[in-house]
Amino acid sequence: MTSLMRWEPFRELHREMRRLQREMDRIFGRWGVELPTVGVPFAAAYPPVNVWEDEEYVYAEAELPGVSMDNLEITVTGTNQLTIKGERKQTAPEKAEWHRRERAFGAFERLVELPVTVDPAKVEARLDNGVLTIKMAKTAEAKPRKIVVKTE
């Protein structure tokens, strides 16, 4: 018996990369390295990103507390490369006695390879209470096609 399947090399690769990432997280903790208690730098892959889809859109979400839209730049290039670039600015005064410093500040840039192709002209982003949600319209070929089955 033979079956026809769409060949999606990138989806396969993506899945494999994620599996590897999870394995690395399991070994080293999700931040890759141990964080010091003072002057925390951003982790290499900041911010962490969740991705999901429905029939029409792909969604990417990141938690970016303390970042305003003015300090964010979101770009989609090559139909499946999403870049989230920005800066989180420190608001605390220089002269203070610190009890705890767990929050990281500074510039960050994250590239996410999307598992499906999207239209770079149809990207919407919103920031709600520190959560960034990016909604990207899938290209026609990335959308599931409904095949009409003819019956005699």
Binding site: R30, V49, H99
Partner: protein
């Protein structure tokens, strides 16, 4: 990870009272600094709506609870790098705080709590009566 490392979105191992609904609590990353007049605490609580915040100060303990409404796909994630759930953390505040003047503000997913220190009891001159 050693226990002194910040545990953001890491675990449940805090001493929060258990809820009847269960679910995961996340420990929000927090900065705390002190000036001559006050203690200021900034806490990352992304995804919390201002009306779903519960900030309490009781017997020297400041507790912060942020309810997070579920969001994301109805089915599975294509990629999931962080979890979503409520935030909870509490701190024992050392110096004496002027409880009436505690203020809190929530902006862009960051909760800032200002705890003004109590005015130091001023040295008083005691009049000595002569017999």
């Amino acid at each position: 990870m050693p226990s002194n490392s910040p545990t953001r979105k890491e675990s449940n191992e805090i001493t929060a009272p258990e809820t009847t609904r269960g679910g995961t609590y996340y420990t929000p990353r927090t900065d705390i600094y002190e000036t001559e007049d006050e203690i200021v605490l900034s806490c990352d609580m992304p995804g919390v709506k201002p009306q779903d915040l519960d900030v309490r100060f009781e017997r020297g303990e400041l507790s912060l609870h942020g309810k997070v409404a579920p969001r994301g796909p109805s089915g599975a994630f294509l990629q999931q790098e962080y979890g979503i759930g409520d935030f909870y953390r509490s701190f024992s505040i050392q110096p004496e705080i002027d409880v009436e003047k505690i203020s809190a503000e929530f902006r862009n997913g960051v909760l800032t709590v200002r705890l003004p220190k109590q005015e130091r009891i001023k040295p008083r001159k005691i009049a000595v009566k002569a017999g």
